[in-house]
């Protein structure tokens, strides 16, 4: 079970995070924080023409929370808002064990499903995705103005 949690893909993203850094404006910045363990993920998101044209993350925390953020960056870039929202739902379902993990179908994100047997760590895996959810809400509010 531990091997499922700390899969090579996770450790690789943790050691070599993709998209760590900040975006230049225009951007939306959203902080995510897990008070029970102190994990932190800050997302910079740029939305153009209804698509997530770029993302970066900062933050600190455990391998799961940081790897998850790194995977998010790769997975979400270029997606439409609607697709991004679907992706969030898919990841949450994966992590909670509501759907089967399948590398064919979910790509690297399937590795996040390893937390389902570690209730303490589910929040680590979802932190970045909940943060993205909030960021997209902001984006819509900005767009609506």
């Amino acid at each position: 079970m531990l091997e499922e949690l700390y899969q090579e893909i996770i450790l690789d993203h943790y050691r070599h995070p993709r998209g760590r850094g900040e975006l230049e404006p225009p951007k939306i910045t959203q902080e995510g924080f897990n008070p029970s363990c102190g994990d932190e993920v800050i997302l910079d998101v740029r939305v153009e023409n209804g698509r997530v044209s770029d993302v970066r993350f900062r933050g600190r925390g455990c391998s799961i929370s940081q790897a998850s953020a790194s995977m998010l960056v790769e997975a979400v870039k270029g997606k439409s808002l609607e697709e991004a929202r679907q992706l969030i739902q898919q990841v949450l379902a994966l992590v909670k064990g509501e759907i089967e993990a399948d590398f064919e179908q979910h790509g690297e994100l399937a590795a996040l499903a390893g937390v389902r047997n570690f209730p303490v760590r589910v929040k680590c895996a979802t932190l970045a995705w909940h943060t993205l959810e909030e960021a997209l809400k902001q984006a819509e509010e900005v767009a609506a103005k």
Binding site: P35, S36, V120
Partner: protein, 412 residues
């Protein structure tokens, strides 16, 4: 006396309580001091023991599975309370030590923040000190004015009187749902409506109601509601403050310490969200789990059934107590719960209690932590108070013992 069709069998219910089982250390007691604290069913005692034995860990702290499980159990207790009082969400439920702490929390956190000099706070004449002293002190600290909503001679609260007291300076009306002395059930929903119409908030002290009549915070529409676990078949050391979410967000923390912050730097503190913001330090974990079991116990009987049964028993008691010469019963005849404050001839209430105790009947005597009300009633009283495990035979024994008390003191 015609036999009444009591809807519950209290003898069966007593079987769920060790306190009522034969035991070498104990007398077989008729326990009529339920307004002070109730006895605990096996289910509660065992839930708490089980937690200490097998699931004990601190909550909300990262690291291990047993801690995660303890946190789950603790949060499940919060959700259980939310469901029990029909809160909109469990974040509106703050765990405290008891009613007293819940009200002190509001007086400090909400009160010291929002009460300004010249503001007015209305309390009723029948309040327990727990819902009186925090407001007296707040009024003094903030230069506000405490206004007393007097009771009628019968012991009830007239809405007309409240209407006359409310004005644009009123910030809060603090009222008990059931008086711990007179047993009056107050019209809390109407009181909240009047308070809100005047732009004031309303705090309901539900210490005496939550285990006896249905309590629905949305139906009452109170802003704050407080109660204690130990008066609702649960352990000591646990109580609840319900508050509307919007208020909790505006209120600063009460106690400060671990578990209620996001980040602490020397120059800046970020508080956690409610409910954590109001629960500094290690909370009463085992006690919350005991409260969960207590609420399950109550619902296993059914709150409507409990209210109906206790009402039947109250009617029976009102009738039978009238038979005792020289007994003066306080409080109204209707809209009342099973709490009976009385005097008997000129016998001092402590003497009444002692004679009853010698006959294995436990009641209380004194001022019942409501000195202003006690003064109004002319002094201390004896008080018998019911719970779900009492029955008509207990009332009969009480009445017999009161007759006996008269004899001991030389009344014919």
């Amino acid at each position: 006396m015609a036999t009444m069709p009591f809807i519950l069998n209290a003898e069966e219910i007593r079987k769920q309580f060790p306190f009522f089982q034969p035991h070498p250390e104990m007398r077989n007691l008729i326990y009529l001091d339920n307004a002070a604290t109730t006895q605990k069913p096996y289910a509660v005692i065992e839930a708490v023991s089980h937690f200490w034995a097998y699931h004990n860990a601190n909550v909300h702290r990262g690291g291990h599975g047993v801690g995660a499980r303890a946190s789950e159990l603790y949060e499940a207790a919060r959700e259980r309370v939310a469901r029990f009082i029909n809160a909109r969400e469990s974040a509106e439920v703050i765990f405290t030590r008891g009613t007293t702490e819940s009200i002190n929390l509001v007086a400090f956190s909400w009160g010291e923040t929002f009460i300004q000099p010249g503001d007015e706070i209305i309390v009723t004449e029948l309040e327990h000190h727990a819902n009186l002293l925090p407001w007296m002190r707040l009024a003094e600290r903030r230069g506000a004015r405490l206004r007393v909503w007097p009771i009628t001679d019968e012991g009830t609260l007239e809405l007309e009187t409240l209407r006359a007291l409310l004005n644009e300076r009123t910030r809060l009306v603090a009222v008990s749902h059931i008086s711990n002395v007179l047993g009056v059930i107050t019209p809390v929903a109407e009181i909240c409506r009047l308070a809100h119409a005047a732009g004031a908030l309303c705090l309901v002290d539900a210490a005496q109601s939550v285990a006896h009549i249905p309590v629905d915070v949305q139906a009452i529409d109170c802003d704050f509601l407080a109660f204690s676990g130990h008066k609702a078949y649960g352990p000591t050391g646990i109580g609840v403050l319900y508050a509307k979410r919007a208020l909790l967000e505006q209120m600063p923390p009460y106690q400060v310490g671990g578990g209620m912050v996001q980040t602490v730097r020397w120059d800046r503190i970020r508080w956690a969200e409610p409910p954590a913001k109001f629960e500094a330090g290690t909370p009463p974990i085992g006690e919350a789990i005991g409260l969960h079991a207590a609420l399950d116990f109550i619902d296993s009987i059914g709150r409507e059934a409990i209210a109906t049964y206790e009402h039947q028993l109250t009617e029976y008691a009102l009738e039978r107590l009238q038979e005792v010469p020289g007994l003066r019963l306080f409080g109204p005849r209707t809209h009342r719960a099973g709490i009976f404050a009385f005097t008997l001839e000129d016998i001092h209430p402590h003497d009444i209690a002692t004679v009853l105790d010698s006959r294995d009947i436990a009641i209380r005597a004194g001022q019942h932590c409501a000195h202003p009300l006690s003064e109004r009633l002319g002094g201390p009283t004896a008080r018998a108070s019911l719970a779900i495990y009492n029955d008509a035979a207990h009332i009969d024994a009480l009445v017999d013992a009161l007759h006996h008390t008269r004899k001991v003191f030389g009344y014919a």
